[in-house]
């Protein structure tokens, strides 16, 4: 069927059972895939009270109805689970080539439950699905795992199964020794994996697609590792069908001409170019969010990167923009370009947020995170937290095993990343639990220095610059998040992107009035749809073009209104998922630091107003159709066709 294959691959690693679920078309129209699909299955099948490390948790990889179509940005999948970092909804997206390959293999999603008795990797070759022995992969970097899997498949292509591979036939299995794999498949197979840091139990293990693309947040990689699942290798041989190929071609032509011109800003410098502008505005998180501008900003900006360590760029599936960076170096830190290069979030989290102006150190830290499978935002903020604790005498050199963990010490930052990944030393083990748990353990003033919402570390955007984004940090179902969120500075200048939602006037970045709350509501719901479809946020399709895209791919007579409602549905189901796990309005809170004014800098004297944020949050609940505790009302659930999800009354 155009847009979706109608087949979800279900794997139970405890029993070894591999099966297919075939939801009706209406399921895809209501939930799209991606975050929508993941939230639906997590809500239905993971009972409240389940521990994230328990085999009963699900690990989900889900592309969406648009994934795999030859259109820029249609390259992504969601990773989903009950998050070991937050105990709430875990949902993050990544790109590259793996997501499209899963659709080409004829699957809309992979849902894994249980836990394998031994380390395992899954091989999917169209409708052949095999659970393979992954003992050789344990403890290996993501780069080594890719090489080992390709070598295994190449050896098989050369003749017979290599010893040690214990394939279980899937639905089309040939039996032992009978499966053959083309040598070209070994080269073309795409690999999703968690890293060795996740194997060791770091709570913010990410999911890695094709070595340099990451579904970074929420610790979904940690859940994958807890199931003894290290990698999913996919080969798919059939491009997804589309309902209206002519319309798709028209959109391709647009992107190849006008679209590409407008994307020039990303092609040359990628997201790293965001460092200096945010710094000038006073919104570059610096030294654990104590400040908003950094004296070393020009050393870690995109222009500096292009001038020094950049060795090339690369793209995702079907995208001509090429925003992804490659970094190569020999000394003082050897850096392998196979792992790509730092995005803005990484340059800030491991750079300015740690007070580090050494670009080589930040790039090395990025490489270690990629090789070990660590979310760079959580890693950077955890180290920044430790640095501030150290400077305030809450940690000494005995606690840091000799490291002078001051802000600005790039070498110490790199060492700490390595230690967190390997869980070496008591402090590193603690930081690998996330700042919330680390602060609770250290005690005292440490709790004030832990920058998180719901246990997920704050990303590299400053609420004292972007106040609506601050509201988004508070109420996001996955904890603090900058992606399904608004960036107020854009809407202070232009509402071009949101006029079709009925938002007609610009709003100052520091405004938290009703118009800002409405903007946040409408745009974040739209982004929940985008993260279900799953589309890249950086490709500048207009909302009208996205509607055309969905119509052209699926053949549905859809509208902006219907797609906005999908987003609202997914946001409400996510909220309900968290309510069922005991998260109440007290979890929708920014750390105190943002309510304190900057002492200096471009935003000197500026703080988020507690009263304004509180009023905005309560107005948001009301606008959502939630009660005063932020619980979706029965009427709202029925309106969104979520009546089946209503929680039993207390």
């Amino acid at each position: 069927m155009p847009g979706f294959t109608g087949k979800i691959l279900r794997v139970d690693l405890t029993t070894g059972e591999v099966s297919t679920e075939t939801p009706p078309e209406s399921f895809y129209r209501r939930y799209m895939g991606g975050r929508g699909l993941a939230t639906y299955y997590l809500f239905k099948e993971v009972p409240p009270g389940t521990d994230p490390f328990d085999p009963a948790n699900l690990f989900i990889l889900a592309p969406g109805v648009l994934t795999g179509v030859q259109l820029a940005g249609a390259s992504r999948a969601a990773a989903g689970s009950l998050s070991p970092l937050t105990g709430a909804l875990g949902s993050a997206e990544g790109g590259g080539f793996w997501p499209a390959e899963l659709k080409r293999a004829g699957w809309d999603a992979l849902i894994v439950k249980g836990r394998a008795a031994r380390p395992t990797w899954i091989y999917i070759d169209d409708d052949r699905v095999e659970l393979r022995d992954g003992s050789a992969l344990v403890g290996k970097t993501t780069g080594e795992v890719e090489a080992l899997i390709r070598e295994t498949l190449r050896n098989e292509a050369a003749g017979g199964r290599a010893a040690g591979n214990n394939g279980q036939g899937g639905p089309a299995g040939d039996g032992p020794g009978g499966a053959t794999v083309g040598a070209d498949k070994a080269a073309r197979v795409r690999i999703a994996q968690c890293g060795p840091a996740a194997e060791r139990g770091v709570r913010y293990g990410n999911v890695v697609f094709d070595l340099s693309h990451f579904a970074g947040r929420c610790g979904n990689g940690t859940v994958m590792a807890a199931k003894n699942l290290r990698a999913v290798a996919v080969h798919g041989s059939r491009a997804p069908d589309v309902a209206d190929p002519e319309k798709v071609k028209e959109l391709q032509r647009y992107m190849a001409t006008t679209g590409l011109e407008q994307a020039a800003k990303f092609s040359e410098f990628g997201t790293p170019r965001t460092v200096l502008p945010l710094n000038a505005l006073g919104g570059l998180p610096t030294r654990n969010f104590r400040e908003g501008d950094f004296e070393g900003a020009s050393a870690i900006d995109g222009t500096a990167l292009n001038r020094t360590l950049l060795s090339g760029t690369h793209s995702c599936y079907a995208c001509p923009i090429g925003c992804k960076r490659n970094v190569k170096a020999e000394a003082p830190y050897p850096i392998d370009p196979a792992y790509g290069g730092p995005e803005y979030e990484t340059l800030a989290a491991l750079g300015s947020c740690c007070g580090v102006a050494d670009l080589a150190a930040v790039c090395k830290a990025n490489e270690i995170c990629a090789a070990q499978g660590l979310d760079t935002i959580s890693t950077g903020v955890s180290i920044a937290f430790a640095m501030e604790c150290f400077e305030n005498g809450l940690l000494d050199t005995k606690a840091t095993d000799g490291l002078e963990l001051h802000f600005g010490n790039g070498a110490a930052m790199v060492t700490m990343v390595e230690r967190i990944a390997r869980r070496e030393g008591r402090l590193a083990r603690l930081l690998g639990e996330g700042v919330a748990r680390a602060a609770a353990e250290i005690g005292g003033r440490a709790v004030e220095l832990a920058m998180h919402v719901k246990g997920q570390e704050i990303p590299m955007h400053e609420p004292r610059l972007k106040h609506g984004l601050g509201l988004g940090y508070e109420v996001s179902p996955t904890g603090a998040d900058h992606c399904h969120n608004i960036h107020d500075t854009v809407f202070a200048k232009t509402v071009k992107g949101v006029i079709p939602l009925g938002i007609l006037e610009t709003i100052p970045a520091d405004d938290l009035g009703p118009a800002k709350v409405r903007l946040y509501l409408y745009e974040s719901n739209w982004l929940h749809f985008i993260d279900s479809a799953v589309l890249c946020h950086f490709v500048d399709w207009s909302k009208d073009q996205v509607v055309e895209m969905v119509r052209a791919v699926t053949g549905w007579n859809t509208s902006l209104w219907e797609l906005e409602k999908v987003g609202e549905r997914v946001a409400n189901l996510g909220r309900l998922f968290n309510v069922a796990r005991g998260l109440g309005p007290e979890a929708d809170r920014l750390p105190d630091r943002f309510f304190q004014p900057f002492a200096r800098g471009p935003l000197q004297g500026v703080a988020v107003s507690r009263e304004a944020m509180d009023r905005a949050r309560r107005l948001y609940y009301g606008m959502c159709g939630w009660d005063e505790r932020g619980v979706p009302t029965p009427a709202k659930l029925e309106e969104l066709e979520l009546g089946w999800a209503a929680l039993p009354s207390a």
Binding site: K265, R273, L276, A280, H482, H487, V490
Partner: protein
């Protein structure tokens, strides 16, 4: 020297000739930030704010010899 220096950040820098800072003379009647922006070829709809010598200013601000004015685009993130 009776000049000001104009810089731009982020993607706005691509609007400047060769992406480099521009030096503008201050005419007899004076020079404000908005005029400097236009003379440097920067479209107003792509400018979020201007900073002169490190401080945020309005587009009507008059410029003095030796001033450095930096134009900042509206930025989302990454």
């Amino acid at each position: 020297m009776n000049t000001v220096t104009v810089k731009a950040l982020g993607f706005l820098a691509q609007r400047l000739p060769e992406g480099k800072a521009v030096t503008l003379p201050i005419p007899a009647g004076g020079l404000d930030v908005r005029t400097a922006m236009r003379l440097a070829g920067l479209p107003e709809e792509e400018v979020f704010l201007a900073v002169v010598n490190g401080r945020r200013v309005t587009l009507d601000q008059a410029l003095a010899p030796g001033d450095e004015v930096t134009f900042v685009p509206p930025v989302a993130g990454g």
